[in-house]
C-alpha cells in the first residue's frame, strides 16, 4: 500500500528517522525536473534541489496539511522559489528587448507537435531559454500565475511579463520544430 502524504507527515511528526528520507525519495526526482526547467546546468540544478530540501526538511514539521497533494505542491513551490532566486542572482536576467539571434523572423501559427518530443528534451529546452523568457514561461504555464503576479514576483512590469511570454513561446516553438526537423520527424 502506498503511503499517503498524511501518513508520511504523521511518521515525521512521530520522529520516525526514516520518514524524512522517504519524503526525499518520494519527491526528489519530481523537483529535480522542475529545477532543470529553471536551471539548465545539472550541477546547479542539483544544488538548488539540495538547498530546497534542507529548507523543506527543517520546516516540514510545521507544514499545514490541506489534503493529499498539498505536500507535493508545497515541496514543488519551495524548489521553484529557490530556483527563481538562483536564476535572479546568478544570471543576468535581461528581459530580452532585442530579438535573440535564434528568434524566428516571422511567426508560424501552427502549434508545435509537443507529443512527439521526449519529455527530457522538452524539459531541457525550457531550461535553455534566455533567463527572462524561462522564468515567465515557467511561472505562467506551470505555476499558472497571471502576468500581474509574475510582475510582482519578479519585480518587472506586467506588460513586460506578457511580451516575454509571447516571445518565449515563439522561441520554444522554434526549438521544438528544429529538433523535430533534425530528427526527421
Amino acid at each position: 500500500m502506498v503511503e499517503t502524504e498524511r501518513q508520511l507527515l504523521d511518521a515525521i511528526y512521530r520522529g520516525d528517522r526514516q520518514a524524512l528520507r522517504r519524503l526525499y525519495d518520494r519527491y526528489s526526482a519530481y523537483v529535480m525536473a522542475i529545477s532543470l526547467r529553471y536551471i539548465h546546468d545539472r550541477e546547479d540544478a542539483k544544488d538548488v534541489v539540495q538547498d530546497s530540501f534542507v529548507k523543506i526538511l527543517k520546516s516540514v514539521a510545521t507544514f499545514d496539511y490541506r489534503g493529499e497533494g498539498s505536500l507535493k505542491s508545497w515541496v514543488a513551490k519551495v524548489v521553484m522559489n529557490q530556483a527563481i532566486d538562483w536564476v535572479t542572482t546568478h544570471e543576468r536576467m535581461h528581459l530580452v528587448i532585442q530579438r535573440p539571434a535564434e528568434m524566428p523572423e516571422f511567426i508560424d501559427e501552427k502549434p508545435p507537435d509537443i507529443q512527439k518530443i521526449p519529455p527530457d528534451i522538452l524539459n531541457g529546452m525550457i531550461g535553455r531559454l534566455p533567463a527572462g523568457f524561462r522564468l515567465v514561461l515557467n511561472l505562467h504555464v506551470f505555476e499558472k500565475l497571471s502576468h500581474r503576479e509574475i510582475a510582482q514576483r519578479l519585480g518587472i512590469k506586467e506588460s513586460s511579463s506578457a511580451s516575454q511570454f509571447s516571445r518565449a513561446k515563439i522561441l520554444l516553438k522554434k526549438m521544438i520544430d528544429d529538433y523535430l526537423n533534425s530528427q526527421g520527424i
Binding site: I12, Y13, R14, G15, D16, R17, A19, L20, R21, Y24, S28, A29, Y30, M32, A33, L36, R37, K46, V49, Q50, D51, F53, V54, K55, L57, K58, S59, A61, T62, F63, D64, R66, S70, W74, K77, V78, M80, N81, I84, E109, P111, P112, I114, Q115, P119, D120, L122, N123, I126, L137, H140, V141, F142, E143, L145, E149, Q152, R153, K169, K173
Partner: protein, 401 residues
Amino acid sequence: MKQEDWTQQLRDKLADYEESVPDDLWAGIEARLIEESGKRQSARTIPLWGRWAVAASLVGLLFGGGYLLWTNDSQSASIADASVETTKRKIPMKSENNDPSQTNKDEVKTDEISIQDLVSDSEPSTAQETPTQPESPQTFVQPDAPQPQAEPERTPKPETTLPEQRETEKVIRELDAKIAEAKRRKHQSTSFSLFASNDLGSWSNRNGVLMSPNQLANYDYSLIQASTRQVEQVYLYNYEERQKHYQPISFGLTVKIPISSRISLSSGIVYTRLRSDFTNIVNGYELEKQQTLYYLGIPLSAQYLLWGFKGLNVYATAGGQVDFCIKTKVVSNGTNIPYDKDRPQFSMQGALGLQYDIIPQLGIYAEPGVKYYFNNGSKVRNFFKDKPTNFNLQLGLRLNL
C-alpha cells in the same frame, strides 16, 4: 486559442515528469542540515572548567619552571663533570699549565670553540653571563682555581705574583670569555624541534534553535498559498543542536636558525588533527556527525632570548602559521559523507618559551602561549572558528646542532 492550447499540452506533458537525481544528493542534504543548523547558534558557552584548566596549566608550568630553575645547578654540575673529557680534547692549546677541570665545569659544554676563536678575540663582554663562580661546594674544593672574569678583571689575586701565573690568568680569562661567548652561541645554534601541542580545553554547547527574522527572510514564500504561510511562525519546534569541539592536537618538526645572538627564526612542518562532534535533533530525528579535519601547516616564527642561564633559557616567540587542510573525514550516522576540504587556515601566535637542555645536544621545552585563528571564510565549522583565540601549550624536544 491555439497558443494557449499548446502551452496547456506542454504543462500536461511535463506536469509529473521526473528527472534522475544524483546518488550523493541525500548525503549532501543530511550534511547541510547539520551544517546549516550550526550557523544559528548564538550564545557560546565556555565551560568554567575550561578556564580552570587553563589557569591550572599555567600555574603548573610556572611551578614546573621554578622547579627546574631551583634544581638546575646541581644537575648541570653533574652533567658537566660527565663531559670534562670533551673539554680536554677541545681546548688544549694554551692551557698546558691550566688544568681544564679548573676552568669551569659548565663551560665544557662549549665544544664549539675553535682555536681561532681563542686567539682572535678577547672581549669579555658577556662576563656576567659566565657561570664561572663556584656554584656548589664541590667547586670550592679547588681553591687555587683562578677566578675568572666574573670578578672585575683588574682585581688581582693576592697570590698571583709570578709572571707566568699572570699569563695563565690572562689565558684563562680569555678562555672564559670565549667560553661564555660560545655558550651564548650554543643557545643560538641551529636546532631541530620535535613537538606536540594542543589548544587547551575542548568546548561543547547545546542550543535550542529559534527561528530568526533574518532566517525567515531567506525563505521566499511569497508565492506559497496563504494556507501555508503560517510556516513562518513556529519553525524550529522540537529542534536542538549539540556540538562538541575537541582540542586540536598537533605534532611538528621545526628547525630554528639563529639570526643573531638573541634572535632566531624557526619554521618547519606541523600536523594537526581536529575533531568535532555534532548532534542535531530535527523533529526527533537525530543526526549525528563526526568531523575530523587533518591539516599540514607551515609555521614561521621569531624567537627572542630573554634570559639564559646554564641549560635553562627563557625566550619569547611570535609568529604565524598557515595550515592546509589535507583531508576531511565526515561520518554521519555511520556513513562517510563526501565533504570539501577546508580552506587554508591562517593563525598567529605569541608564546613564552622555557627550554631546558638535558644534555647540550638535547633540550626539552614548553611554550605556553596564545593563538589566534583568522576566520578563513569557509563554511566548515571547527574549533578554530568557535574559539578563534585560544591558550595553547606546546611541548617538545629540541635537538641542538
